[in-house]
Symmetry: C2
């Protein structure tokens, strides 16, 4: 095996992981044991959830250990296989870590990437968990009907931009909420929102939502919690659905943050709030991917990528994401 | 027409309406116009919502005017009719007001009471909006499955007691939350809850809920909002449903009260919170009433009534309700 390189966690961050919390090291990929495959990674994913994966605070999963390769979704090509289901040349996506060459059990593979006409990078974004989250969060939990007004927070993000466009495909009117002129422009020009609100530029977000949604908000797809949600909830239409997908604006849940009580809004509007996690829909990923790929091919679903080159870009990539530097799904490309 | 008596609003209360805000006066019922009926009321209803009906603050409906008869559900017998759908002797329930004799348009009638084997008083409680609210709130919004743990706040109240018993009928385990030994005893002995928590007697309501619900809370039927809800939400089971039926513990929504944010609970548990209002189910009242009446006849659904005698009891009856004096659906009986 040739010597390869990987990014390991060097120190546990207290907050957002910075470049100094990681270290790039050379390593010799181990020989394949039965059931394992060797993947040459072409794209590594960078996402907000990684902050939780290296945090000492309990989350959905055990934290990455000090000295261990950084946990990550990645996509690449099988170069050797000791598993009957995979052969060299297969394009795969899964939990392969921030490394050039990954020796992993076949169970680390999320799926074979069969959309050979579409860039492999999409398997980490619009044809990955971002798109799947948007699809099920909007359609299953949000249940939009033609003519509904759908409001999306982090509207130009990897999930939000897909939500807005799927809502348009479903015949809805879409209103995006994003921070800054650039993102608002992206919402309107790239992702086809009917209206977009720059929450950093308005004095009264609730008034801006009311103005943009004169008939009320039928579906609110929320990635933020916090002040943006507090501004949308008083504007719900009768029977509205609020999809709770993320809580990006809450920096810590200890101590637990407070906010205006939602109960009266839910009661007066007979509305509902409901959490969504893509993993719950694993048995229906195929359906989602087929439809998402179809919409990409027909030009109805656009996506933005923000690709950094080389493993050297990885250590700072999460911090950069939290600085808001990216303008699309943040990826790291290997083998240029 | 004989002279009759009614209770009118004498002054607009600032908060909970007291006896001095009402006045009993004699009046001469008017002659029936086309489409009107004359009802001799036998039972007048008293309920928490009446506070809103006399409040200057906008609510679901216009407030009762000064000098007008107090708005109220009531049940009685038709004694004269100028409408082809009603005949003397019909038992009816509807918005007949706090008065002995009511001249009302037929549109004021909610329904003819056809359960001739059951007391007419039930048409204002367990076979009225209370039971209907419990039925649709629990079954349609809460969607309990056999084996689920169902937690009910104001568990011994007119709505809550029906919720707990319907949940038992559906094969659920039921845990009631109520204030005081008396109500807890009522929960366990009269309404068959598997466990009951006296929220006034425990230091840590959340810990008490956790202990009573080792597998988590699958359905939370909430009539309170406030600290009781804040204690239940951290104990939700995966996929839990929270039914928002009332907000009794919130004394004012101006200024809007704050509380711990629910978003993370909803996300981590993929749970939902949803408001319910019985009026939305008007097209299905028949279904609910038939099943509720069946459960009463079979002894599976018990109800408590707290009946005051005579119109003189009406003016203080709402304040008394807010003092927690009642031990069942509060009614006023006329014509002894």
């Amino acid at each position: 095996m040739p010597t390869s390189r990987r990014v390991v966690l060097a120190a546990r961050p207290d907050g957002i992981p910075q470049a100094e919390h990681f270290r790039i090291e050379a390593y010799e990929p181990a020989d394949l044991k039965p059931g394992e495959i060797l993947v040459r990674n072409q794209f590594l994913s960078v996402e907000p959830a990684m902050r939780g994966w290296v945090s000492a605070v309990a989350n959905y999963a055990q934290p990455v250990g000090i000295g261990e390769v950084m946990r990550s979704f990645a996509s690449g090509e099988v170069v050797a296989s000791n598993h009957p289901g995979y052969a060299p040349g297969d394009r795969v996506t899964g939990m392969f870590g921030w490394q050039e060459m990954a020796v992993v059990p076949a169970s680390a593979v999320s799926r074979k990437v069969t959309e050979s006409d579409l860039p492999l990078s999409t398997s980490l974004g619009v044809l990955g968990l971002n798109g799947i989250t948007a699809y099920f969060g909007l359609l299953d939990v949000g249940q939009p009907k033609p003519g509904d007004t759908v409001v999306v927070s982090t509207a130009s993000g990897s999930v939000g931009s897909a939500v807005g466009q799927i809502a348009k495909i479903m015949g809805c009117r879409t209103v995006g909420i994003a921070g800054g002129k650039d993102k608002v422009r992206q919402c309107l020009e790239d992702f086809g929102y009917d209206a977009a609100i720059d929450y950093k530029a308005v004095n009264d977000i609730a008034a801006a939502v009311a103005k943009a949604c004169p008939g009320g908000v039928d579906v609110y797809f929320d990635n933020t919690s916090g002040p943006i949600s507090d501004a949308v909830l008083p504007n719900l239409a009768m029977g509205a659905r609020v999809v709770i997908c993320g809580t990006a604006s809450i920096s810590s849940w200890d101590p637990w943050p407070t906010g205006p009580r939602p109960e009266r809004h839910l009661l007066v509007r007979r509305a509902r709030m409901q959490g969504v996690l893509a993993f719950d829909y694993a048995h229906r990923y195929g359906e989602a991917l087929a439809r998402l790929a179809g919409w990409i091919r027909s030009g109805q679903l656009r996506y933005a990528e923000d690709i950094l080159d080389g493993l050297e870009a990885a250590p700072d990539a999460i911090a950069s994401l939290y600085r808001g530097d990216n303008r699309g799904k943040r990826l790291i490309r290997l083998h240029g």
